[in-house]
Amino acid sequence: MKFLVLWLVASSLYAKPAPLFHADVLGGGKLSLAENLKPGRGTLVSFWATWCSPCMEELKHLAKVLGKDSKIPIDVITVNVDTSETSSDVRSTARLEKILFPIALDPTHRIFGKYNAEKALPYSVLLNGQGTILKSFQGYQPDMVEQMQAALRVAN
């Protein structure tokens, strides 16, 4: 039992390399997570769906804050997880919500399942330039940019 507890604590504290991926991108082309990682900068991988209101809130907040201050060293990649039932809404939702971040498509949750077994939204993961997970966010958190900056400062 003691071992199990230690194992759980240790593994939750350990910095984990992120599952890397290639994926199709909305509008054509492919996206490689590895190619988007940049030394000295953080990359936020944000999972969302068209029916998830808090996800929209998170993406709008990120666009507003990161768009206003280009000195914040964080790039955003979004991964849409709509299944075939709602997948035809992705482009119109991105247009309406003015989501200008790259949108990788994951209709079968092959990427999402690797990052978040429970598949709960919103879910975002901050990576450093080496692809190590610095922080994960379950649910929209209004102060997530500040939290990300703090995590990057510690990491760098």
Binding site: H22, S53, S84, A120
Partner: protein, 499 residues
């Protein structure tokens, strides 16, 4: 000293396992240096609840699902198994070990191959969808070979094998394994070419046969052909998707018997220009009796519809969003014909919904609707949700839902009134708890009140959920699929962990 050593071993294994996780079964593997890597995940559920007709006997069940994976270069192998312990009185007996899924796959820039278990889907899932849904304990896979070639502008897949269900689902409400008493073999191919940067034309073909496990001969055969077309961003405001399928079903060994031809079509047309969105959808499913599919339902708020075999409908949805916050108002109207209930029954369903941000930065959502199957049944529903932040990362959440339904309009006294409410508190992004209450004053059963208490704890790799009390059952929907589930009375603990 021993504990420290174990901790170090644990850290080493954890680090190795996470380093492995850059392999994802449907993804192209990013080139990396070779080396053997390992991963593992576990999903366990323990429940003590009444089961089946023996409503006074509580059954203890411990269900476990483990998956281990290993990667070497571009190749990934995985193996999944389940364990089941059930005390006396359980409908399903104990099973010490059941191998559920096994696969080996390799992925390169334009190529993917898989041997063993894999999920496959055509288009919108009208003709074929093999998927996993943990809520219903469904995980049907193709056990065989799969090959995909997808250079730029072209995407082709071919596959063949037999279907493999989930024998020991780790779920409270699990559906029956669709291949528990039959063997189903299938082969198929699909291809999609890009006509331009924003449009694709696709086609697919599926062949399937079924054999009762106790029989040596196949008794049923299906041939399905389909076409799809997708156009996105026309004039930067219009998106269009259309798909149509023809399925031919034969009873083998009986040349004089013919099933009617089955058709399954879907189309959507979306116009969106901030802040407005208008979407027109249509579906037409005729005689489409095939278990391995997940077609679009068009239902705004799925509450009663289980029919995806013989139904046609069109839905118009209009939405206006408000910039700056997550606020919107929307209305949808569904007009259809349900051919499952009677010879032909007109279906109307109107839903109005709105969401916004109010006092104290609270977020609210409201939805009201009315659904009527002419001369047969009707249902009125209303729902309201409210989330009020109380401090940083903490919030109180409340929800209420009411459904008034009449299953037979000629007997209006047989009305059902369902009231569901819950109050929850989010203590942090890791911990939340909720109290649920359901009141069904029109229920014939002795129990009209259902109370439950649940809590959720999430850490990076660990997720736990516990529930104690009762739920009333009824229609449960997950990822566009709805099923009737029985009441639950007891307790369960669910734990997921991945390395």
């Amino acid at each position: 000293m021993k504990t420290k050593a174990l901790l170090l071993v644990g850290l080493f294994v954890v680090s190795q396992s996470f380093a492995e996780s850059d392999s994802s079964s449907a993804l192209e593997l990013i080139p990396h240096e070779g080396g053997f890597k390992f991963s593992a995940s576990d999903h366990m559920m323990a429940s003590s609840a009444t089961e089946g007709d023996q409503s006074d006997i509580s059954v203890l069940k411990i269900l476990n699902e483990t998956e281990v994976g290993a990667e070497w270069g571009e190749y990934v192998a995985s193996l999944g198994w389940t364990n089941r312990y059930a005390s006396q009185g359980a409908v399903e007996p104990s099973r010490a070990l059941q191998i559920e899924k096994k696969s080996l796959h390799g992925e390169w820039k334009d190529w993917v191959f898989r041997l063993g278990d894999t999920h496959v889907e055509f288009g919108k899932g009208i003709a074929l969808s093999l998927y996993r849904d943990q809520n219903f304990g469904v995980d049907t896979t193709l056990e065989g070979g799969y090959l995909r070639y997808h250079p730029s502008g072209w995407d082709t897949q071919v596959f063949a094998g037999r279907l493999n269900g989930w024998d020991n689902p780790v779920a409270i409400f699990n559906l029956e394994n669709p291949v528990a008493s039959n063997e189903v073999v299938m082969a198929g191919a699909s291809s999609k070419i890009a006509l331009s940067d924003t449009s694709q034309l696709g086609g697919h073909y599926l062949f399937a046969m079924r054999r009762p496990l106790l029989d040596t001969r196949y008794e049923r055969r299906w041939n399905t052909m389909g076409l799809s077309f997708n156009q996105e961003g026309l004039f930067d405001t219009l998106d269009f998707y259309a798909e149509t399928n023809l399925m031919l079903e034969d009873r083998l060994g009986d040349p004089n018997f013919y099933f009617p031809e089955a058709y399954g079509s879907y189309a959507s047309f979306t116009w969106s220009s901030s802040p407005w969105k208008v979407k027109l959808e249509g579906k037409d499913y005729r005689n489409y009796r095939f278990d391995f599919r997940r077609p679009p339902t068009l239902e705004e708020d799925i509450v009663v519809s289980l029919n995806t075999e013989n139904v046609s409908a069109t839905r118009l949805m209009t939405e206006r969003r408000f910039d700056g916050t997550v606020e919107s108002v929307a209305a949808s109207y569904l007009l259809g014909e349900d051919r499952a209930e009677r010879a032909s029954t007109a279906l109307h369903h109107i839903v109005l919904s709105t969401k916004g941000v109010g006092l104290l930065d609270s977020h609210w959502e409201a939805k009201v609707g009315y659904r009527r199957l002419i001369e047969l049944s009707d249902l009125a529903h209303v729902a309201f949700k409210l989330k009020v932040p109380t401090s940083k990362k903490q919030a109180v959440e409340m929800g209420y839902r009411k459904q008034l339904s009449r299953a037979n309009l000629s007997q209006p006294e047989l009305r059902q009134d369902r009231n569901m409410m819950d109050v929850g508190y989010t203590f942090s992004s890791q911990l939340s708890a909720s109290l649920g209450y359901e009141f069904i004053p029109t229920a014939n059963e002795a129990n009209q009140n259902f109370v439950n208490l649940s809590a959720t704890l999430k850490m990076d790799a660990l997720s736990t959920r516990a529930l104690i009390g009762q739920t009333s059952g009824g229609t449960l929907c997950s990822a566009g699929v709805c099923r009737q589930v029985p009441p639950f009375s007891g307790a369960y603990l669910e734990l997921s962990y991945s390395l």
